[in-house]
């Protein structure tokens, strides 16, 4: 409850929220306020164990046993939790060399991940190797801009999913990075990479306008930003209109708080990324209201970041 307490304390409208929280119809579909908590990782790279205690910067950090404990603590405090990963789950420790991803995917399933996207290193056991792992995955692999026709992954991934939680409809889709020059042709086989910009525009519009999702999340392995004109999360945020949040990966960027971009619709798109190796777990708490004038609500956001604990 610590987070909720400090949240209330630090918000000027805390009293209003408190009142809304005790509203008698809160649990019904017609209640005015709804909440969701998003937890996320990226580029865990097979770090099932903590980093070795060798006196280095990351010594003792990370590991699935610590991450799982933290996640269950948060689940105990918040009703509606989504747990997401932005790719490169695999490759980087001898676990992967020996077991080709089985314990990584099994541990994620035990932790109750809701969805992930595919990173370039998730091709490292070959496309057939990744396809085999999906039998251990209790969550969908989302990637909208790879065409897996005539590959072992055909019909085994999805461009997006819609999760209904706490009376909210959350649309989640995935974007993968250009494979040519990054992943060996033998590993990605017949996978066809499509430009993520038009794909992101079309899928996010579908989720928001046709499917009427209350929130659209993009799981991206494109990378946070580049000095060149290579397509990044920043590009996607600026070029699209309907994405509320991009959970990114690939560039191993430690963002201390999410970046905010003005999107093509004039609204705000957030981008977050939590480094690599599973040493950090990201958390975003969203409050939703039903209301005729969403822009009024959107104009104020509360930021209580830079707290690191757990």
């Amino acid at each position: 409850m610590l987070n909720r307490r400090s949240f209330l304390k630090k918000t000027s409208i805390g009293a209003g929220l408190l009142a809304a929280g005790s509203f008698p119809l809160e649990s019904f579909a017609g209640s005015r306020e709804k909440k969701i908590t998003i937890l996320h990782t990226n580029d865990v790279h097979s770090r099932l164990d903590p980093f070795p205690n060798d006196g280095g910067k990351l010594a003792g950090m990370g590991g699935v046993a610590a991450r799982a404990e933290l996640i269950s603590q948060i689940r105990g405090e918040c009703d509606n939790v989504l747990l997401l990963d932005a790719g490169d789950m695999l490759q980087g420790t001898p676990y992967f060399n020996m077991y080709k991803g089985e314990p990584e995917i099994k541990a994620m399933t035990m932790m109750g991940y809701d969805a992930c996207t595919m990173g370039n290193h998730d091709f490292d056991a070959g496309i057939d190797g990744f396809a085999r792992l999906l039998s251990f995955a209790g969550f969908p692999v989302l990637v909208a801009n790879y065409d897996f026709t005539n590959t072992p992954l055909e019909h085994k991934t999805a461009p997006y999913t819609i999760i209904k939680k706490g009376g909210l409809k959350i649309g989640i889709f995935g974007l993968g990075i250009e494979l040519e020059g990054l992943v060996s042709g033998a590993a990605f086989g017949n996978t066809k990479y499509n430009n993520p910009i038009p794909v992101a525009k079309a899928v996010s519009e579908k989720l928001k306008r046709d499917e009427k999702c209350d929130m659209v999340i993009c799981l991206s392995h494109l990378g946070y930003e580049y000095e060149t004109n290579k397509i990044s999360d920043k590009t996607i945020a600026k070029e699209t209109e309907y994405i509320d949040l991009i959970i990114g990966g690939h560039t191993h960027t430690f963002l201390d708080s999410p970046a905010t971009e003005r999107n093509a619709g004039g609204g705000e798109t957030l981008i977050n990324q939590v480094g690599w190796g599973g040493v950090r777990l990201g958390r975003l708490d969203y409050v939703f209201h039903s209301g005729k004038n969403p822009e009024l609500y959107k104009s104020h956001s509360v930021n209580i970041n830079k707290e690191t604990s757990g």
């Binding site: 017609g30 280095g56 980087g92 541990a107 020059g181 999410p258 939703f288 604990s309």
Partner: protein, 246 residues
């Protein structure tokens, strides 16, 4: 009153049958340092135990030591010099005419190895990919292009090559202390990932490449073991192979 409101909402839902829209009104964020408080869920430790047991029996074996902190940095670093030197040595053992070695910076997957013992597992973490050593026949002109590519990427590990970084390009390129002869064919040891065009090295793909049936990781393991056998630690140092122009 409350009851009426409830009935109205049920009626509305029944009539419309669709999801009532909600709008984001606020958001907040924080992050957690995983493992900082030392609390773990022991069921995961139990789940990992059988995987770990088999893995550790192979990976915890000490193969040698380093008396220097090996760090990953650009333009030149101790970790990179160790990798490139080991690659060049292994290539020369198979073909003494090999001129130099090049490795991609992103191919090294850990930020440091502290001074002390080196285990098999640490080498797997440094070089987890099953990439094989490959000897590529590179015309001088293409080698200059490659050095410029490395410079644009802010410096990659090399052995037998040196250059200055200036405005994102490579200047004063030397191969074994000599300027590059544009018409000569150089034998460069690298990994099959780069030789097949990885990390934007598409200029290498048309060249003749001879694969050596050796993983880069095994080359590193053998290099550390051989030094250890002679009672020597690893001791790479920065020797201005790649440096910024003053």
């Amino acid at each position: 009153m409350r009851l009426r409101l409830l009935y109205t909402s049920i009626l509305l839902l029944a009539v419309t049958g669709c999801h009532k829209p909600y709008y984001i009104s606020q958001h907040s964020n924080r992050h957690y340092a995983v493992g900082k408080d030392g609390k773990t869920d022991s069921s995961y430790t139990r789940f990992l135990a059988p995987y770990k047991l088999r893995m550790d029996s192979t990976m915890q074996v000490v193969i040698g030591r380093t008396d220097t902190n090996l760090t990953k940095a650009q333009p030149e670093c101790t970790l990179g010099n160790f990798v490139a030197d080991a690659m060049l040595q292994a290539a020369k053992q198979r073909n003494s005419n090999v001129d130099a070695a090049v490795c991609n910076y992103g191919g090294m997957r850990i930020p440091y190895i502290n001074a002390g013992n080196i285990t098999v597992g640490r080498m797997y973490e440094l070089m987890p990919f099953d990439n094989a050593l490959t000897i590529v026949e590179v015309p001088g002109k293409i080698l200059i292009q490659w050095c410029n590519h490395m410079a644009a990427m802010k410096g990659w590990p090399v052995s037998g090559i040196s250059y200055l970084l200036q405005d994102g390009a490579a200047e004063y390129i030397r191969i074994n202390q000599q300027p590059i002869d544009e018409n000569k064919i150089y034998l460069i040891a690298t990994n099959d990932y780069l030789a097949t065009g990885g990390d934007k090295c598409s200029f290498l793909t048309p060249l003749k490449a001879t694969p050596v049936n050796l993983f880069i990781r095994d080359i590193l393991i053998d290099y550390v073991k051989a030094l250890h056998k002679d009672n020597k630690p690893l001791h790479p140092y920065i020797e201005k192979r790649v440096r910024y122009a003053e």
